[in-house]
């Protein structure tokens, strides 16, 4: 897919200072993402995928290069970007509703309280959690917790949705369910949201992505290869596995991740 550079990463690098000296996590990372595109970053753990995501979120400034969103340089977090964290990151002392509400209240400051409450109710209904709104996170299963986190991120209607291995901690069935739900939400918003997601699950990447960005192993990780996923949407999980394009993609990804960039034994 030709990128029109809605979200642009230009020669981005990120170094960390550690007790044992400087550590280059990411270098020469250049990527153009189109508006409404669903991009998946895939690579072995420790390759710096999350670092890239955190830089787009504005949580972490690049030590080199620039990230642009709609012509604006990203320097800090903003309400145009929503994030779903790896470990749910719900606030345990708040109810499901309040977890979503506080985010909506903070991100959408100019709305009235009634409007914000309506947004929260809508978001919880969309992920099927309105019956659980008064529960606290510890009373929810992992899948439900991540639903709350997804609802929280979608509720602020961000331009860019950042997902950091959102389903990594879930069992396979729940993960499949949430993947479908994610696509449904994204399509529900007419795919106006640009999605950048980090995963190390090959099937998940193919099922969800328009493009898959394969990363080399860290340190000094960068882009190994970008694969376009030409499978038509909406995708049927059971049907696409019989598509020859699916098999080709999976083969290529397996080659890249298990042979070309095999993870050295830790």
């Amino acid at each position: 897919m030709a990128a029109n550079g809605y979200l642009q990463l230009r020669d981005v690098a990120r170094e960390f200072t550690t007790p044992r000296g400087r550590f280059v996590a990411i270098k020469q990372f250049t990527l153009d993402i189109a508006r409404g595109e669903f991009v998946v970053l895939i690579g072995h753990s420790g390759c710096g995928k999350s670092t890239v995501l955190n830089m787009i979120a504005g949580l972490l400034p690049p030590t080199q290069g620039t990230i642009w969103l709609a012509g604006q340089r990203i320097e800090r977090p903003g309400p145009d970007r929503g994030m779903v964290f790896q470990n749910y990151s719900l606030l345990p002392w708040l109810s499901v509703r309040d977890n979503v509400y506080e985010a909506v209240d903070a991100a959408l400051r100019d709305r009235s309280r009634a409007e914000k409450l309506a947004i929260v109710e809508q978001a919880l209904r969309t992920v099927g959690l309105d019956a659980h709104r008064d529960k606290h996170p510890h009373q929810l299963s992992g899948g439900m917790k991540q639903r709350v986190a997804v609802a929280r991120a979608f509720a602020i209607h961000p331009q860019v949705l950042l997902l950091d291995e959102p389903f990594g901690a879930l069992d396979a069935l729940t993960r499949a369910e949430l993947q479908e739900e994610l696509l449904r939400l994204w399509q529900h918003d007419s795919r106006t949201e640009t999605v950048v997601m980090v995963t190390h699950d090959i099937d998940e990447a193919i099922y969800l992505a328009d493009r898959i960005v394969v990363m080399t192993n860290g340190p000094a990780a960068t882009i190994a290869e970008v694969l376009a996923v030409d499978l038509p949407r909406p995708r049927d999980k059971r049907a696409i596995v019989h598509d020859p394009r699916y098999a080709d993609l999976k083969d290529r990804l397996l080659y890249l991740l298990t042979i070309a960039f095999a993870q050295h034994a830790a």
Binding site: P77, R81, M83, N87, S89, E102, H138
Partner: protein, 279 residues
Amino acid sequence: MMRIMRRGEPLRAIRWPPPVALSTAPWGRTSLELVGAALLLLALWQLATVLAGTDLPGPARTLPVLWELIRDPLYDRGPNDKGIALQLLSSLQRVFLGFALGSLIAIPLGVVMGASRLGRGLLNPLVQVFRPVSPLAWFPIGLAALHSAPTATVFVICITSLWPTVINTAFGIASLPEDHKNVARVFQFSRWKYFSKILWPYSLPHILTGLRLSLGVAWMVIVAAEMLAGGVGIGFFVWDSWNTLHVERVIAALLLIGAVGLAMDRVLELLARRASYAT
């Protein structure tokens, strides 16, 4: 386990007295165990009496005295002869005053230490130096500065109340998980929302643990401080009883001091339970 490594010295939450876990079931698991504990106490006490000779009164001599004290707790016959409840109340008053003052100092101090590296660097050495100092060593300083024994007593309690609260508050603030901070940053929480919805609810259980330990120490120290200060209060009562060779009263007072301390600890534990959250 409870340590965070930032630059410099690791910061630990102190748990003192240590068996906090034990005290969550204060009355034993069954009332039968409670009765057993009471019998055990009486037996050991009796044994100690036998071994020590007649100078140490046993349960049979002490319990009637305890009953006398409890029966008319509020009498007031001049400055040197007051009911046991009045003595206890006067001690409690000092403890609460000193404890409140100490907490008002300790919580902000702990927040500064927990939130800022510079704050930790400047304050941690002071805390580490003064924390092991016996509270009673502060008494002459209090007298010198405040010229009044009751005020000096409050001062000693105030100093005593500082350390557990400072350290636990600092620990609570500093151990706030990065994930929670990231939520605040990604969704652009205002400073007030960050404080009221994240930092405060997260650190409140730690602060309450500190307060609970502080209050426990303060209650232990008040008895000793009042022995030095004289006048009125349960510590003075103990000392005065000893000087008039009423050892039964000393032991009876000891039991009452323990009961009051336990009751205060329960109250703070209840508060802490209300502030705690399941993860």
